[in-house]
Point group: none
Chain length 252, copies 2
DNA sequence: AAGAGAGCACTGGTCAGACCAGTTTCTGTA
DNA sequence: TACAGAAACTGGTCTGACCAGTGCTCTCTT
């Protein structure tokens, strides 16, 4: 599928499911481009599509805003501003991961319990792709692997919620960056966890799969914390006025 | 006005005013750009807008074509993205509860761990209201109690996700009904679970709180299954949107 | 002559970088 | 202190390049 279409879907889901309130400002085109790792053209085309659907409105020099009348958002509207959570607060990322730990664990549990032979096939395929790819160059296989597991849970609600959370994570800078900047020794541990998770699910050991999956997310979370506390060269997109730097040079 | 907007209007008018019939191919992007004397970017953005409005469809390598479906004639994009999940309603409810079991458990766990004295106060107040109300006449205190616990988790993401799930549940018929139609003996068990949950949180026993909360959701789920298999009459009541969680005092 | 295949000429899709045009914020002066 | 101007944002447009599907055509083989 075309990337711009994917992007527009993701943004729409984020807006409709993620509780972004009307009149809420969404990140600038350049920020979105950097975070989603696509060119600005793609972002602009996706935004124009959402504009056509009436999901957002754009004002020259100001930004793009969630439309006041978003169809189907009636129930989530009164959630109040959730967007401010994304603006530079690293805390939110860990809140996200805290929830994800639980849900990824459940997904693994259910996958080990319910996976059909077709699921097994898909998961295996994704796992092989994961093994044979240089993690530094491409994070896609990692996503594919986890996605296959989540879908093997055969719980559409779970799939949907985890998808929303993943989209939210993409809005934070650190998440993406950290995904691509694993230390060697940490990378090794992650590979091991992936293998354990794979084996537990294929062997049909729910409790074990759950435990490994939860440990995996927790490990990722802690790794990010480490990198952060080390004051390593985390690239921060300054949404807050206090850290006014230049938002360039994000792409990897 | 923005040029791309003008272009999309002109094209739409051209199509709708009879110039172009459904399934008819419209000129290529490069041709349009040359003819209207604008860059291809502008054309692409305008086309994406029309795509969002459902006026045209685009196929890679072939071109753009007028949609068979005319805009404005009530079509698919009315319903929110969540609603399609409820098409086969019965199963979805249990998927929902499956996820809730996990997250309510986590919320209870975190609440027992992180609740401040203010949280304790709120939870106690909600619990007292719960005790003193006839559950058959009003389900509000039940919501309030759980809401207070979730907010005491101090994880805004968790609060948000559980709120969304609760809103989803309210859209299913059975959920509301079952909430109001508990058998006497089941009601007794639920009261007991509430008490255990309350005590575990106030005493700061995370593991215990989690266990009880999960058992509670699971019990509710199983009760619904029982009622369903008994073939009891499902009273169809309209969903009341006001019970949707109030965004107040989400501690920060 | 008939068929298969390679190549080419389209189509849309993505990218990079530059510059223009509004808006907001910071800053140095009067 | 107040105000005007300079940054530093925002979206809007342009250019030119290249990638990726599609389908026609022409040639070479059989």
């Amino acid at each position: 599928m075309a990337i711009s279409r994917e992007v527009s879907y993701r943004l729409e889901r984020l807006i409709l499911d993620g509780g972004l309130a009307p009149e809420q400002k969404i990140p600038s085109e350049r920020q979105l481009a950097a975070r989603l790792r696509v060119s600005r053209s793609v972002i602009r085309e996706a935004l124009h599509e959402l504009q056509g659907r009436g999901v957002i409105e754009t004002r020259h020099g100001k930004g793009s805003f969630v439309s006041t009348m978003v169809p189907g958002s009636g129930d989530l509207r009164e959630q109040g501003p959730l967007m401010h959570l994304f603006e530079g607060h690293p805390r939110t990322l860990y809140d996200l991961l805290e929830v994800r730990e639980q849900l990824e664990g459940q997904a693994a549990f259910l996958a080990a319990k319910r996976a059909t032979s077709l699921d097994h096939h898909r998961i295996t395929k994704a796992y092989r792709a994961l093994e044979e790819t240089d993690p530094l160059s491409n994070a896609r296989p990692d996503h594919g692997f986890h996605q296959a597991i989540v879908e093997a849970s055969h719980n559409p609600i779970l799939v949907h919620v985890l998808n929303s959370l993943k989209n939210m994570m993409l809005m934070t800078v650190q998440a993406s960056v950290a995904n691509l900047n694993p230390r060697a020794e940490k990378r090794k541990k992650i590979v091991q966890q992936h293998r354990q998770l794979y084996e537990a699910i294929m062997a049909g050991r729910p409790a074990s799969a759950q435990k490994v999956a939860m440990a995996h997310v927790r490990f990722v979370s802690e790794s990010m914390r480490d990198m952060e506390s080390e004051g390593s060269e985390l690239i921060r997109i300054p949404v807050l006025p206090e850290t006014a730097g230049n938002p360039h040079h994000i792409s990897g």
